[in-house]
C-alpha cells in the first residue's frame, strides 16, 4: 500500500527533516503559500496540495495568480456576500482549487450549490459534526443527478464514482480524514491519525520514521477495522440501511432523530441511479462503436 501523504503546518519545520514524502502543506496566511511551496520543494519532498485555512470568507481571500497550477484546498468559514464574490469568480475558476465548507449551516449548503453551478469544485466538510441533513439531501441530488454542467461536489461525487456494494469505501480522504491516505504531523514531527486527533494531542507515533509500513502499523490497521465494533456491539448503526456508505461516522449521537440514516439511505438510491445512468451511457457508446 502507498505510504500516506503527510499533512504539515507551514510554521513547523517538520517536513524539512523528511525526504521523499508527499506533503500536504497547511497555511494560515496567504503570504506563506508561495514560501511554503518553495520550502517543500527544497526539502526533497513533493507537494501534493496546499490547504489554505485563512479563517476568512471566500470572497475576501486573495490568491496569487502564480498559484494557478498548484492544487489548493481552500477551507472557508463562509463564502461571504455573493456580490463581493462575483468579482472574483472568473479569477477563482482559473485556479486548481476546491472549496471546503462546513455543512451545519443551510447558507453553506446553498453556497456549495452556487459555487458548483459556477464551475468551482467544492467539498462538504463534515468534520465538526454539525450537519443540516435536509439541505444535504437536495445538495447530493443536485451533485449526482443535475443535468446542467456543474463542478463536482465531494464527497458525493467521490462516493458515487467509487462505491461498490461489496466493498467498504473510506471517503474521509476527501477531507484529509483517512489515515490510509493522510497522516497529520505536529511541529515536533509527532504523528496523528486525523486533524481532530492532532488538535486533541492524540498521537500514534513520535516521528514518521516509526511507521515503516502502513499494513503493519497497528493504530492505522485498527482504525481501518473500527467498523467491526459496530457489529460486535450490536450498535444500531450496524442495522442502518445507509451503513454501507456511512460506516458509523455519525454514531456519536449528534445526528439525532435518525436523520443521518434517512440521508444515507437516500444517498444509496441516488448512487444507484447515478451508476445506472453512467452504465447506460457507456453501454450505448459501446454499441455505437
Amino acid at each position: 500500500m502507498k505510504f500516506p501523504r503527510l499533512v504539515c503546518q507551514y510554521r513547523s519545520n517538520s517536513f524539512e527533516k523528511l525526504q521523499g514524502h508527499s506533503i500536504v502543506l497547511r497555511v494560515e496566511r496567504t503570504a506563506d503559500i508561495g514560501q511554503g511551496i518553495e520550502r517543500v520543494r527544497k526539502s526533497g519532498n513533493s507537494l501534493f496540495c496546499v490547504i489554505v485555512d485563512l479563517g476568512k470568507p471566500l470572497a475576501e481571500i486573495e490568491l496569487d495568480t502564480n498559484l494557478s497550477k498548484i492544487p489548493l484546498a481552500v477551507m472557508a468559514p463562509s463564502v461571504g456576500r455573493y456580490s463581493d464574490l462575483s468579482r472574483r469568480i472568473g479569477e477563482l475558476r482559473k485556479f486548481n482549487l476546491r472549496v471546503y465548507l462546513r455543512c451545519g449551516n443551510p447558507e453553506h449548503i446553498s453556497a456549495i450549490r452556487i459555487l458548483s453551478s459556477l464551475g468551482i469544485a467544492t467539498c462538504v466538510d463534515f468534520t465538526d459534526g454539525a450537519v443540516c441533513w435536509d439541505g444535504l439531501i437536495d445538495l447530493s441530488t443536485y451533485a449526482l443527478l443535475e443535468r446542467a454542467p456543474h463542478a463536482p461536489i465531494d464527497p458525493f461525487c467521490f462516493i458515487a464514482d467509487n462505491f461498490r456494494p461489496v466493498k467498504s469505501l473510506e471517503w474521509g480522504r476527501t477531507v484529509f480524514d483517512d489515515p490510509n491516505s493522510f497522516l497529520h504531523l505536529d511541529e515536533n514531527g509527532r504523528v496523528a491519525l486525523s486533524e481532530r486527533c492532532l488538535v486533541a494531542g492524540e498521537f500514534v507515533a513520535d516521528s514518521i520514521q516509526e511507521i515503516t509500513s502502513i499494513d503493519d502499523f497497528h493504530p492505522i490497521r485498527e482504525k481501518g477495522h473500527a467498523w467491526r465494533t459496530y457489529f460486535r456491539d450490536c450498535h444500531e448503526c450496524a442495522f442502518c440501511p445507509g451503513w454501507r456508505i456511512c460506516l458509523g461516522k455519525f454514531s456519536s449521537g449528534t445526528s439525532a432523530q435518525g436523520k443521518c440514516s434517512s440521508f444515507f439511505g437516500e444517498l444509496m438510491d441516488l448512487i444507484a441511479q447515478f451508476q445506472n445512468s453512467n452504465q447506460l451511457a457507456n453501454e450505448s457508446s459501446l454499441w455505437q462503436l
Partner: protein
C-alpha cells in the same frame, strides 16, 4: 425566491439552450438579494433583463453603483416603465428617485411605456432618452385585462386609435433614431400597410403574437404571462424541458382560441392568425370573455373560470 430555486431555474434554462432570463417582480429591486441574483445569472452566462419602475431606494442604487457598473449593457438590460409626468403625476420624492436612477443607470436602461389611456402622450420620453443616454429602443405595451380582477385596460376597439396616435410621433422616432418594439397585444389589422412598412423599415421589430412569457413565481409556479397569472398555473417541477412547457401552453392556447379566435370577430378565419403572423390580440382578452359568456363548453376552462368568478 430562494437560491436553490434560482439555481434550478438557471440550470433548467441552460440545459434547454435558453440564454436570456428576465427578472420581473412586482418590483424585483425590493428583493434583498436582487443584485446578488443579477450578478449570479450574469456569471452563469445569461443575458439578464430586469423590469423596474426605476424608483430605487438609495441603498439599492448604491449597490447598483458598486456592483453593476462594470457589466456590459448588452448583457444586462433594465426595462424601466416610464410615465408621463403630466398625465400621471408622481410625488416629488419619486421624481427625484427616478432621476437619480436614470442618472446612474441610463445606459443600461431600455425605456418602456404602457398605454393605458387612448389619449396617451410620448413627448416626454424623447427628452428623457436624450438626457439620460438610455437605449434607443422603446418597448411599447398596452394595458391588458387580468381575468378575475377588476382592472382598467385598453379595449380592442381602441386599437386603431392607439396606432394612429402612435404614428403622430413617427417623425420624432426617426429624428431621434429610436426604434420601436411592441410588447404582446397589438393586432396586425390595426395597422395600415404603410404603417407596417414603416415599422419594418425603421424598427424591424413588429410583433403581433401573444407568446407565453413563461413567468415563474418564487414558489416555482409557472404561468403563461402576468395577466394570466391566476389561470391554469402549474409547477415548473412538472416539466422536464422547455419543449414540454411550450407544448402545454400551445395546447392551452389552442383550446381557448378554438372557442374565441381573437379580440375581433374577424379574427375567426383570418389568414394572418392561421399563418401565426398575428395572434389576434392577447389571450387574456379571450379568457376575460369566457368569464362573461356562458355556458362554457370546455370543462377545464369552466372550472378555472368558476374559481375566478369566486374572486370577482
Amino acid at each position: 425566491m430562494s437560491w436553490e430555486n434560482l439555481i434550478y431555474i438557471a440550470d433548467f434554462l441552460w440545459v434547454n439552450g435558453q440564454r436570456a432570463v428576465s427578472l420581473i417582480g412586482g418590483e424585483p429591486t425590493l428583493h434583498p438579494q436582487c443584485v446578488d441574483f443579477i450578478l449570479y445569472l450574469l456569471d452563469r452566462g445569461f443575458y439578464v433583463t430586469l423590469f423596474s419602475n426605476g424608483l430605487l431606494r438609495s441603498t439599492i442604487l448604491d449597490e447598483f453603483d458598486r456592483y453593476l457598473m462594470n457589466t456590459l449593457p448588452d448583457h444586462f438590460n433594465i426595462v424601466c416603465n416610464l410615465n408621463d409626468p403630466i398625465q400621471t403625476p408622481q410625488k416629488a420624492s419619486e421624481e427625484t428617485q427616478l432621476r437619480d436612477y436614470l442618472s446612474l443607470m441610463g445606459p443600461w436602461t431600455t425605456p418602456g411605456f404602457n398605454i393605458y389611456r387612448p389619449d396617451f402622450t410620448l413627448d416626454f420620453l424623447f427628452d428623457l432618452i436624450q438626457v439620460y443616454g438610455m437605449k434607443r429602443h422603446l418597448r411599447l405595451g398596452v394595458a391588458h385585462p387580468i381575468p378575475g380582477r377588476k382592472t382598467s385596460f385598453m379595449q380592442p376597439q381602441d386599437m386603431r386609435h392607439i396606432v394612429e396616435r402612435l404614428f403622430t410621433y413617427r417623425q420624432l422616432f426617426e429624428t431621434y433614431r429610436i426604434r420601436l418594439g411592441f410588447d404582446c397585444g397589438f393586432t396586425m389589422c390595426s395597422f395600415s400597410d404603410q404603417e407596417l412598412g414603416w415599422l419594418r423599415r425603421y424598427s424591424g421589430g413588429e410583433n403581433f403574437n401573444c407568446r407565453p412569457a413563461m413567468d415563474i413565481s418564487p414558489d416555482m409556479s409557472l404561468y403563461h404571462c402576468f395577466p394570466l397569472s391566476s389561470y391554469r398555473r402549474r409547477s415548473l417541477f412538472e416539466f422536464d424541458s422547455l419543449a414540454e412547457i411550450n407544448t402545454h401552453f400551445a395546447r392551452m392556447r389552442g383550446e381557448i382560441q378554438s372557442e374565441i379566435a381573437g379580440v375581433f370577430q374577424e379574427c375567426d378565419g383570418c389568414r394572418h392568425r392561421q399563418d401565426d403572423v398575428c395572434s389576434g390580440g392577447g389571450l387574456c382578452h379571450a379568457v376575460l370573455r369566457f368569464i362573461d359568456e356562458a355556458p362554457i363548453r370546455i370543462r377545464e376552462i369552466e372550472n378555472e373560470i368558476s374559481a375566478a368568478r369566486m374572486s370577482i
